[in-house]
Structures are given as C-alpha cells and as structure tokens.
Symmetry: C2
Subunit: 400 residues, 2 copies
C-alpha cells in the first residue's frame, strides 16, 4: 500500500548502515559500549521507521531492532532485520545471550522521561548509563546527499507556500486566516502534517504569521519572534490581529517532507513600507547576501555571528536585533533536519567550525515593540566555497 | 494587546485557587510535602500561563510561581503573583528561606527528561522525589463548569468542521486534500493550532481522514485507526489515497479552544454504502445511543466497556472491533481535556467509577483490513442521570 503512495523516497540499507557505523565510531571514542535508542526521531534516523520498539547498537555487533507494534508497518519502512517482541521486557534475554549488557550503556537522557528510564534500567538489570544524545546530535548535524535531497523537497513546499502568500495577504485580513490558507496550501503539496522540536516542553506551529505589534510580544519560546497566538495555553503563533497598511507581515513557515524540516520567513506589505522598517529591511537583506558569500567550510559559526553583529551595531539596530528587551535571543541561526533545533547553533557563545553538509536556518530579524517586526529567514547548506540556499524562493519584500 | 483579541475566556483567580487546593489535599494524603511543576500543560492548569518557569506548591504554603521568560506575557496570563527569576537555579534561595525543601518532593516524572530531573535535584540540593503526575491526572480528570464551557467551545469548532466536510468530500478527492481544507476551516474558527498528548513519543494530528484501506493499516499509535500518513517519519494521518464509491470516509477531528481538546469522528459516503459496512455502522450507532442513556454517575467504566463488548460479540464483530489483528486496542474511550489522553480510560482493565464532570471520547470503530473502516466517535460529559454530548453535531453517516 505504501509503495502505491509514492510520496517519499525510502532510505537505503547503505545509508542506514553508514549512520549506524558513524555512531559506533563516536561511541567507541567515548567509551560507550552499547546504546539503547527509543526516541521516535532517532529511531527514524537509524532505522527508517518510528514504530514502537527499541534499537540496540553495540560497538562490536550488528544493530538489533526490536519491534513491538506495528510489525506490519515496520517491515514496510525499514531495511533492517526486525526482532519481534511482545513487550519491552522481552529484550533482556536476547541482549544477555549476545553478551551486550556489559560496560557503559547510552540512552537519550535529554528526552527520556525519568519513569521510562527507570523502567528500562530495571528491565535490563543494568545501572550504568550515560547520555548518548550529544553523539547522536553531532552525527545528525552533517547531512548526507540523500538527506539534502529530502530537505530540498521540503523547501519546495516552502517556496510554493510563499507564492500563495502573495495571493492571500491583503490589508484587513487576519493573521489566522492567512495561517489557515497557507497551512492548507502546504499540506496539499504533501507537507507531512507537523514539525518536531527536540526537548522538554518544546512545541511549534507549522506557520506563524505576524502582522505588526503581535511580532513584538516577548515569549517563553527561544525564538526572536513568537507571536501572540489565540490562547495563553499555546501562547505562540498567529492571532486575530489583521494586516495594516505599511506594516510588514512576516510569514514564518516550516516545510516538512519525509521527516525533514525547513524553516524560512518572507515579508509582505500592503502599501508603502513605513519609514521605521526601511533600514532594518535593507540591513537584513544585506546580511543574508553577505553571509551567503562569506560562510563556507572552515569558517567558525562565532565568526559568522560576530560579522553580522558588527554590521547590526554599526547600523544602530543592536537593541532591536533578534527580539527586544526580555524577548531578545542570542543566536542568529539554528541547525535543521529531522528536528528544527539541531546543530550547529550560530551564536557568539558556541565555537563550531562549519563542515560540508551542515544545514542551518539563518534569520536576521528586528523587533520594534508596539510597532512591528521585520526580517528574513533562509536555510543554508554549507559548501566548500559558499553557502548554498535550500530553496530558490526570492527574499525581497512583496507588495500586496 | 491580549485583551483586544478577546478570543478566549481567562481563568479566574478562584478557579486557580481551587485547583491548587485540590492538589494540596491529595499531596497531603500521599505524604508529599511539596511539588515542583514544570510541564507546560500542568503549569497552564495550575497558573493560566505556560511561560518558562517553575511552580512550587507546598502543602502548607501559598503557591510560588517563578517566571524566567516572558514576564510580560506571564503577567497578562496568570492571576497568581509572580516571582521573577533570571535562571532556574535562583529558586533555591527562596525555597530554603521559606523552609520548603523538606520531606518528600513531587515532580512530573512521567514527562520530565532524566537530564532536566537531575539538574533540578542538583539545583535544589534535595534528593527525595516521587512522581506527582498520578495525582495531577486524577485531579484534572473531573472538569469544572469553566472547563466544560471551554470544551463546548472547542466542540463548536468540531461541529463546524463536520458541516464543512460534507461540502468537500467527494469521490476521487484525496484524504490529504480533505484534511487540508478542514484543518483550515477549524483554524479560521479559532482553533488553537495543535493538540497535546501526554507522554514520551506521543504525537498527533489535528485531523485524520481515512478513505478506506488506509484505515486498516496497523500502527505504533495506541488508537484503533491511525492511517498511513505520507511518510514513515510520521506514519499516521491522511494520505494521498482517494475517496471511493461505497466505502465510508472517516473524519477524525480534534477541536482545540483555549487549551481544551475535543475529539470526534463522523462518517461520509459517496454513493450507496457497501454491504460489509452496513451492520457495523448500525451497531456503532446503536452503541453510542445506548451508552448515552446507560452511562451516568456511579457506573463503572468497566461495566460500560463490557456492555459494549457483549453487543459487539453478539453481532459477530469481535475480530474487527477497535482495530484488527495486531492493530487492535483494548479501550473504547479515553478522557479529554488539556491533553487527549486523560483519565478515565474506558476499558475492561481499569476499574473507575464515573463521577460528575468527567469527560471522555467514546469511539466504537470497526476495521476490515484491505477494505476499510467504519465507526463513530463522540465526546461525553458524565452527568447524574445520563451522559451529555459535548457537541450537537448529528452522528448519522452523510451521503456526499
């Protein structure tokens, strides 16, 4: 049935094998003897399926993929051999027989809830575990050519949505109406339905539309602009506020194709852009174009951040950069892939030499409280001599 | 700015105080001296805001709400006093001064990741914690009249979406196209944007449209019908399959208003319903109507399940009930509120006497692999002498 759909590119056996070998190498270097992987995104990365089960990777063995439910679906999804189990505790016997439960184990301690972890330790009769997530994040940071293809298909949905945005954004239309129509546009083009953000309490919308003052509301979320939303229970995203003459509308949209997330923002304006937004718009555009040429393999992410920050300071826009007041965040870019908060982070704080195949969203944005916000976001792939755009969507502000 | 939106009913100081008193009473009975609450949904329930911070409830004190970010937003959202902090570790001093860090603490160990938990213990210099989530779930199980009002507003979005469904479902239209148009319809009516499901790896769509065979694909998800989706990375929800003559289309949609989730399913068919689906449709309808009269305060959820199960067995539909083969699940209903998997669970396994104000989705569904699926889902409020429907949307299959 899945084959008939033809809506995604299945991952190859070789691709999966390469990823698992990559993790084994990192584990060996860190003295981790085996890892038990359960989070759905990591499972998908290492197996091609998110069906209920556990993946055990020992440094000196073939991977063991235990599946509880659904076996039918897992067999369609993964090129790996499957060991069927009735319940999670069935894995202990197999692991003992294979002599795997020795030394230091790894689990995804950044996302695994305490009760799940305690249960696993008791099932395995093994107490010594460290956090294997930093290694998985490091591995997932550099994308294969297969992954870059998925990201480009995800980006194609984004480009289509921005085209449609120019048709639906008009003075007087509400953020939430624009939101609804654009999410529908993306979904009809094959958007996977939702996006993923790693970590406790991390949630996100597929789209946020900011029509003006709503872009200036600070938020719990670690983003420069989060919006007001329609309820304090969500407290982010589009609201019932409407598009006004001369105030830029930011459409921040996340594509999702076969698990892979893209994240770009474009600008639209009804009438002539108000004066206060003109300079920051030009600076944002200049920064995106400058960084596309400056960024490349071997550049440190901190250099990239500081180059941008110098330009922003020189323009006298420091106070408005990446939020305002308590809403200000300390990064200008974030890695992307199966989750929206991957490595690398482009900030002054984390030294990170850019490598071929890293992918990140780059988002110079400026916030003017009680007035509005303006900015651009594009996704870049790190190449030898430049940064390559993931989408081909133009970045200029669109008059509507 | 939020006041201008007027899109939700703020929670009152008295409502919040009642909830906190409720938890204190349960904590005292269990010997828990204080609780540290961090999960966004529980924070919202006890404070009215999900801004970044921690809520500390000690059995013999006023609640302490520490907020890191955003103070501006938190002050708009919550009727509680706020203690501003720069970072989480700032709370220790206040808690020590007030003599709170004594005895047994409680944390949400079903959702709190290991690393967050370890960090909190180290910050507090306190080691003795038990899981306070079972108490919170028990408390949240019975809804106040304010909460029932929110649920009914959430249900009004659902009713509107089902009306629109009759206009967009036609032979040859794909599941994903129907999905896109109906999600947009709900969002324009004020849907909050996404739904929440408690627990590790728990994810869900706002809508699932099943056009036939896709309803028979088993899944990792603990639901009778999950669909195929458009990628193994999500592996649930609508697909590119299209509506066929005589095969029922199930639209399973979750409303979301001010945090409160509703979850109902309706049936649509192009042409005459195929014979195989006629009897299960009649049985599903009969079961919903029967249970609405039979269910009430004082009935055990297990009685309710067994009554339904007897009817299904008598009809010879046991094998198809609530999934098929490995896809079969053991419940026929689940609690609803701020999360979609609340208490009570309507199953043979968990004894639970129904109380006034409990709310649950009730979903007799039948799956015929390789052919299709059929069923109805409605949300009920438990009342003294009956079950009250949350929405007024008719349950009959609609010809399109």
């Amino acid at each position: 049935m899945l084959q008939q759909v033809g809506a995604f590119d299945p991952v190859s056996k070789e691709e999966i094998a390469g990823r698992i070998e990559g993790l084994k190498t990192m584990m060996a270097a860190q003295g981790i003897d085996f890892a038990v992987i359960m989070q759905n995104v990591d499972m998908f990365y290492f197996t091609g399926t998110i069906q209920k089960g556990l993946l055990v990777i020992a440094v000196d063995r073939e991977p063991l993929l235990f599946i509880e439910k659904s076996l039918t679906r897992a067999r369609l999804d993964t090129p790996l051999d499957i060991i069927p189990i009735d319940r999670d505790r069935d894995i202990r016997k197999t692991l003992e027989e294979k002599g795997i439960l020795r030394g230091t184990g790894g689990m995804e301690l950044d996302v695994l809830p305490v009760r799940v972890y305690e249960r696993l330790k008791s099932i395995l009769g093994h107490e010594s575990f460290v956090d294997v997530s930093p290694l998985i994040k490091e591995l997932r940071m550099v994308k294969s050519s297969y992954e870059l293809m998925q990201l480009k298909k995800s980006g194609a949905i984004v480009s289509r949505v921005f085209k449609r945005a120019a048709e639906v954004i008009r003075e007087g239309v509400s953020e939430i109406e624009i939101d609804a129509l654009l999410v529908a546009e993306g979904r009809m083009r094959g958007h996977q339905g939702f996006l993923r953000m790693r970590g406790f309490n991390q949630e996100m919308m597929n789209i946020c539309v900011f029509s003006g003052r709503t872009g200036g509301m600070p938020s719990y979320a670690d983003v420069p602009i989060a919006g007001v939303g329609v309820t304090p229970a969500i407290a982010q995203g589009s609201s019932f506020f409407t598009v006004e003459q001369g105030v830029p509308v930011i459409v921040d949209y996340g594509g999702g194709y076969n698990g892979y997330i893209t994240d770009e923002s474009r600008l639209f304006v009804a009438g002539a852009l108000k004066d206060i937004f003109r300079k920051p718009y030009e600076i944002a555009k200049e920064i995106v174009e400058d960084v596309a040429g400056f960024g490349r393999v071997g550049i440190n992410a901190t250099e990239l951040f500081l180059r941008v920050y110098q330009r922003v300071k020189k323009a006298g826009l420091k106070e408005h950069f990446m939020g305002h007041g308590e809403g200000q965040v300390s990064f200008i870019g974030h890695g992307l892939g199966l989750e929206i908060n991957e490595l690398p982070v482009i900030t002054a704080r984390h030294s990170r030499i850019l490598e071929e195949g890293m992918v990140f969203a780059f988002e110079p944005k400026f916030v003017f409280p009680d007035v509005g916000a303006i900015g651009i976001e594009v996704d870049f792939i790190v190449r030898k001599n430049r940064l390559e755009r993931v989408t081909d969507s133009p970045i200029d502000i669109v008059s509507v």
